[in-house]
């Protein structure tokens, strides 16, 4: 008889897992492994790289002013996007949380529908909107304001990325809010807390894990984005992701591009670890 833990079952499970492991090895693990190794190899203009191990590429990423500026701008951009999406997303999540199931469905559908449209199309939309003679400036002129030169600025990238990452920040917050026991809110009201205070003291602390999850998602997605910056950012705005893209495509310094890419990933991982740690600490301290 075939049951769980049975030798035959186990053998079959191993057999069934082999194809995907082969594909992921060939198309994911091996490429990433070799790329990681490449980031530690010496750059050579004639041969792309030499078989000499070195930290030189990471040294460039950490020490050269272009890359330092890139790190600074990347952090600025990603933090701005995380802040905007979390603030907006929190508002939306609260509306979702308080609405009737019918409205909730409509709103969630509207929120996620744009996810099915390619990022490049939505970025193109923002490019049109921010054009010096685009609809935004036409509207401002109507009120005798402007013109605003947003096209090719960091602001344009922040706005576009906020729009793209908004669902990624909203849904975790909504998920956290959904788990808040309404009896707690009512209890606070019964005990004489005014509604806003009850919300701030009871609901907000309980929703913090969702805020952290959503914020981290938005941050790491924004930090590693390069399509929106390539279209909307000014060419002299250095970001780690676009620097890596240029190293590979224009400069053809592959080892440096690899080091930049892995450094970018490490920054996002570090920030995730720090925020999760901070969340644990505050929750532990408050005994929530």
């Amino acid at each position: 008889m075939a049951g769980v833990g049975d030798d035959g079952t186990r053998a079959r499970a191993v057999l069934l897992i082999v194809p995907i492991l082969v594909v992921l090895t060939l198309g994911f693990y091996a490429p990433l492994g070799f790329f990681l190794a490449l980031s530690f190899l010496r750059y050579d203009p004639a041969h792309l790289y030499l078989h000499q191990w070195t930290f030189a590429n990471y040294h460039v990423v950490l020490a050269e002013s272009t890359y330092r500026l890139g790190l600074f701008n990347t952090l600025r951009l990603a933090l701005a996007v995380a802040a905007c999406t979390v603030v907006l997303g929190y508002g939306i999540a609260v509306v979702l949380w308080r609405s009737t199931p019918g409205w909730r469905n409509v709103l969630i559908t509207a929120l996620i529908a744009p996810l099915f449209v390619s990022v490049i199309i939505r970025t193109y939309g923002w490019l049109i909107i921010f054009d010096n003679r685009g609809p935004l400036n036409e509207m401002l002129r109507w009120f005798s304001l402007g013109p605003l030169h947003i096209r090719s600025t960091l602001t344009a990238v922040v706005v576009a990325l906020t729009e793209v990452e908004l669902p990624f920040a909203t849904l975790p917050i909504f998920a956290a809010l959904s788990q808040v026991d309404r009896a707690l809110v009512e209890a606070a009201a019964t005990l004489g807390e005014p509604p806003l205070r009850a919300f701030a003291r009871v609901v907000v602390p309980l929703s913090l894990p969702g805020v952290v999850t959503g914020g981290i998602l938005a941050f790491s997605l924004a930090a590693s984005s390069f399509v929106e910056p390539l279209v909307l950012a000014p060419p002299n705005l250095f970001l780690l992701a676009t620097l890596a893209y240029d190293d590979i495509n224009q400069v053809l310094n592959w080892p440096l591009g690899a080091a930049t890419g892995f450094f970018l990933f490490a920054v996002a991982l570090l920030l995730t670890a720090v925020s999760v740690g901070a969340l644990r600490l505050t929750r532990g301290g408050r005994m929530v």
């Binding site: 079959r12 996620i112 390619s118 990022v119 199309i121 939309g125 690899a258």
Partner: protein, 272 residues
């Protein structure tokens, strides 16, 4: 009473602004596509379908459209098959080590697309596979198959193993059990996952920008190239065609699968 109404109005205004913000780039693209002039005006000054005709006649757009469709179809087929087999394997995996295997299969979701794209380009370069369909398919397969695995594994009935055991007790062999019991039980999740893999592949820019070459340009990459270097409403027209096709596909699929469930799983999981 008064306060409740004020809150209601505030909430309505907030929702309206958020919806406008989310949909603005799409509305603008659709609007621009109906321009008659070769300039990008929004709202358009004279309405016309001129750019639709232009786009659908031009091989600069129909070629990439076909490439995207072919790549997405192949990717969806492979991802559906691989994802199903792996989802079934995960369900059968001993509890010890299951999380490790799961993480190994889902890892591509958590690595930034730019890193995967660059690494694949380097790897394919060493294998002399750059710029062709094979590279694109491999890249898209790797980033879409985890979503299928998760959909299949998550959408599986909890008592799948018991049902399989029952079939075996009643005398069905392993193959018959697999074809007649396991597959029908996971089919809804499989079709949802496969459909999703198609859409993800069709829309992808991040990986494709690295892997597309002269012999294989996908539609999103072609749009990217146009957006960077030229400025007429043809991009808006082809984008609108694309959005319309997606809406039709989604409405069609909605009858068989819960698109919403699919997406919340995707968004809660991570990257595009």
């Amino acid at each position: 009473m008064m306060a409740t109404r004020t809150v209601g109005v505030l909430r309505g205004t907030f929702v309206a602004i958020v919806l406008l913000f989310i949909l603005a780039p799409l509305i603008v693209v659709v609007g621009v596509s109906f321009n008659r002039s070769p300039f990008v005006f929004f709202p358009p000054r004279a309405l016309s379908l001129h750019w639709y005709g232009e786009v659908l006649r031009s091989s600069a757009w129909t070629g990439p459209l076909a490439t995207s469709a072919v790549v997405a179809a192949i990717v969806a087929g492979f991802a559906g098959l691989l994802g199903t087999v792996s989802g079934l394997a995960l369900a059968r995996w001993p509890v010890r080590g299951r999380q490790m295997i799961e993480l190994a299969l889902l890892a591509p979701i958590f690595i930034p697309g730019i890193l995967t794209g660059m690494a694949l380009l380097f790897w394919l370069g060493r294998l002399q596979l750059v710029g062709g369909l094979a590279g694109l398919v491999l890249g898209h397969l790797v980033i879409t198959v985890p979503y299928v695995v998760r959909t299949v594994y998550g959408g599986m009935p909890g008592n799948l193993m018991d049902l399989e055991a029952a079939a075996a007790t009643l005398g069905a062999g392993p193959v018959r059990t697999f074809v007649r019991v396991s597959v029908p039980l996971v089919l809804p999740a499989v079709s949802a996952g496969t459909f999703f893999a198609f859409l993800l592949s069709f829309d992808n820019v991040t990986i494709s920008l690295f892997l597309a070459g002269p012999r294989a340009v996908t539609l999103p990459v072609q749009i990217f190239n146009y957006v960077q270097f030229s400025n007429d409403p043809s991009v808006a027209a082809i984008s609108t065609v694309l959005m319309l096709a997606t809406v039709v596909a989604l409405l069609g699929a909605e009858r068989f699968i819960s698109v919403r469930q699919l997406v919340s799983r995707r968004t809660l999981g991570g990257r595009a």
